[in-house]
């Protein structure tokens, strides 16, 4: 009975499995293999051993792109996860909860290009609402996307609003927390802040950790979309990310070998980030005892 159910379940997954296999796994393996060839798509590939790896590594734009990619994970990821958590807490109850939920989720439902267009306006150094506000408050108004120092923070700032999915996960997890626990804490004299800090945060830590790991992987690739649309990787490579390096090597210079070698690097960086999240989790001893979701 149970076996039959399992089998049926697997059969149900078959189309997805095939799709993933054909569209992701096979191309991924092929592009891994391409890293050992010189290939321009116009003439047949030529085997060159590991030559592409030093070629990619010694390209000064490569290390810069890795640095930028990491910065665009480390800057927004913790804020995004914590923001999703806070927003979920606020949207759990109250009269305006439906409105709030819609507002938090909306940016994630927008097409990336529309979202980018809105931010191009918000971040306009002279006429954007953000800088007008800053100037009205007599604060210095940075050039944002046109300023090499501020371009990365500007993109991180825009990324902060794309938390829809993490928000939904947090919201669902919050509904799983028994109200009794909060009531008990309140009876012991804990305020809203203390309940958040000492009751909800520890209980949701496994979820937040999972979200953090997911966000790190996601941002490593997705920051490129926004950086590409907002600043094209500029000014002067300030927002030039690893996916852009790969994209330009492959489709700009038709150097698929070096692009594939850089793709290996992207996977290694992703792996390292996950290990980092795991180590932090072990240090804090969260999410590893009962749920064991990461192991």
């Amino acid at each position: 009975m149970n076996d039959g159910y399992e089998r049926r379940l697997k059969r149900l997954l078959l189309p997805y499995g095939m799709g993933i296999g054909l569209l992701f796994v096979v191309p991924a393996i092929l592009s891994f293999a391409l890293a050992f060839f010189r290939y321009d798509a116009l003439s047949p590939p030529r085997f060159v051993g590991t030559l592409n790896f030093p070629l990619a590594r010694t390209d000064s734009l490569f290390s810069l792109s890795v640095f930028n990619s990491l910065a665009l994970v480390i800057l927004p990821a913790p804020l995004r996860v914590f923001g999703a958590f806070l927003a979920a807490r606020l949207a759990r109850g109250g009269r305006l909860r439906h409105l709030l939920r819609a507002a938090v989720f909306l940016p994630a439902a927008m097409p990336a290009s529309a979202f980018a267009l809105a931010w191009l306006w918000i971040l306009n150094p002279l006429y954007g609402p953000l800088n007008r506000l800053l100037m009205a408050l007599s604060l210095s108004a940075p050039g944002w996307l046109s300023d090499a120092q501020w371009a990365r923070p500007a993109i991180a700032l825009a990324l902060l609003w794309l938390v829809g999915e993490g928000f939904l996960v947090c919201l669902a997890a919050l509904y799983d927390v028994p109200r009794d626990l909060e009531d008990a804490a309140a009876a012991d004299g804990a305020g809203a802040g203390a309940i958040l800090r000492y009751v909800l945060l520890p209980l949701l830590a496994p979820v937040l950790l999972l979200l953090m790991a997911r966000d790190a992987v996601l941002l490593l690739q997705e920051s490129f979309t926004l950086a590409w649309l907002l600043s094209g990787g500029g000014p002067y490579y300030a927002t030039y990310t690893l996916p852009q390096f790969i994209y330009e090597a492959a489709f700009g210079r038709l150097d698929f070998g070096v692009a594939s070698a850089a793709l290996w690097a992207l996977y290694v960086v992703t792996g390292l980030l996950l290990i980092l999240v795991y180590l932090v989790a072990r240090q804090w001893q969260v999410g590893l005892s009962e749920e064991e979701f990461l192991l």
């Binding site: 321009d40 798509a41 116009l42 003439s43 306009n124 002279l126 046109s146 489709f251």
Partner: protein, 420 residues
């Protein structure tokens, strides 16, 4: 019986063709340009009912380039594409282009001598004409006549100089409400190698060390470097063009259309846009001269992919597009300076009723136009060098530092590039 069969033979051939001939044709440009190409294709199909043309239009030039590269790499390029002469060598070096010289020699509609020679040179690769040039555009100065009149400044003469230009631009740069921010800029120019090049030539300098066999950029050498310094000083010293923040807030082309920039450097490309969007009186002037007069060719051509299936049908389209009839249709958009002398010197281009009234400027400058070196990696060279020129233009580094960085960073591309 026999004569009858012979008479029927051509008809039979004609019938066979009508089933198989489709030609794919890809262009880029704005809506007005697209409409012109639709007219061109319709006229062509009316004259050649046996050929069916599929027109694909990519609005942005950047996307266009990326799509073409991917299409060629995938082995499914458009049969006919419109390409700038700076881009053609990359495709030519990879053997992706069908040389069109032999087709042109056989043509009864057009001949090599009908074209401005420089356009033929720009598309010649390994002794063969690769693509058939559509236009002979070049960089000029668009200017807002209303702003000139309001400031009481004389309009640019045909032989104005760098100094005249700076003086004019300084006069036209204004902070009209006195709040410390400039409200009207004298000029707008994209800080790139492509824009800088004619000024280098005007100063007796060279873009590359040896134009016949380039091995590195030549911006570090004195006459070239002086031109770069003059170019950069427009922003860093004279402040007649927007600084980086102002340019990022509203780009110079938009400022020109809004009437808050007096002069804007662009090729003929700007004409349809300004005709439609600018609600002031405007005209064009030649580039201001340095030691000598020099200009830079901006030219696109119709190219035939080596992978095209029905090359004869594709050639018919290219031939038609470059016939006086085809070029007249496209010139009607205002977008092109026709590469056929006869069309360029006709009212199709020199239409006295349409702006700019000084269109003759384009034709007068043809004689001292120069082309960038033909090398397969030119796009990479240009974009890399432009990054450094931009940094100097906005004051991050000096002109000399930019020249050195541009030279060093592009050396690899010169080493990798294939030459005609």
């Amino acid at each position: 019986m026999k004569p009858l069969a012979l008479l029927l033979l051509p008809l039979l051939l004609f019938a066979c063709r009508s089933e198989s001939s489709t030609v794919s044709f890809t262009v880029s440009g704005d809506a007005a340009e697209y409409a012109a190409y639709e007219t061109l294709v319709a006229a062509f199909e009316a004259a050649h009912p046996e050929i069916d043309v599929t027109l694909t239009h990519i609005p942005s030039a950047g996307d266009y380039s990326a799509k073409l590269v991917t299409d060629f790499a995938a082995g499914t390029p458009p049969d006919v594409s419109l390409l700038n002469y700076r881009r053609v060598p990359a495709f030519a070096a990879a053997g992706q282009m069908e040389p069109l010289g032999p087709y042109l020699d056989k043509s009864e509609l057009i001949a090599r001598e009908d074209f401005y020679p420089i356009t033929i040179d720009a598309f010649t690769w390994q002794g063969d004409i690769l693509c058939i040039p559509q236009n002979v555009s070049s960089l000029v100065v668009y200017y807002n006549r209303d702003l000139f009149a309001a400031a009481g400044v004389a309009e640019p003469a045909d032989d104005w100089t760098w100094d005249d230009f700076v003086t004019t631009a300084v006069t036209l740069t204004r902070d009209s409400d006195g709040d410390g921010t400039i409200d009207q800029y004298g000029a707008g120019i994209e800080p790139s190698l492509y824009r800088l090049a004619p000024f280098v030539w005007q100063n007796g300098g060279r873009l590359v060390d040896d134009p016949a066999n380039p091995t590195q950029l030549g911006l570090t050498r004195l006459p070239s470097l002086q031109a770069l310094e003059w170019f950069v000083a427009l922003q860093t010293v004279h402040h007649v063009v927007p600084d980086r923040t102002a340019e990022a807030a509203i780009d110079s082309e938009t400022r020109f259309i809004q009437g808050t920039t007096a002069m804007f450097f662009d090729s003929r490309r700007g004409t349809p846009t300004f005709r439609e969007a600018a609600d002031f009186d405007w005209d064009i002037a030649p580039l201001p001269r340095g030691q000598e007069a020099a200009g830079i060719l901006h030219s696109d051509a119709y190219c035939l992919s080596a992978a095209a299936k029905d090359k004869d049908a594709a050639w018919s389209l290219i031939e038609f597009a470059n016939s006086p009839e085809g070029q007249t249709i496209i010139a009607g958009t205002g977008r092109t300076v026709p590469s056929l002398r006869a069309v360029a010197e006709s009212d199709a281009f020199l239409d006295p009723a349409a702006r700019p009234s000084r269109s003759q400027v384009f034709l007068d400058s043809v004689d001292h136009l120069q082309i960038v070196p033909l090398i397969s990696t030119w796009e990479d060279i240009e974009s890399t060098a432009s990054e450094e020129i931009e940094r100097a233009f906005y004051g991050d580094i000096t002109a000399e530092e930019a020249a050195i960085l541009a030279r060093d960073r592009t050396e690899e591309y010169f080493a990798l590039g294939a030459r005609p």
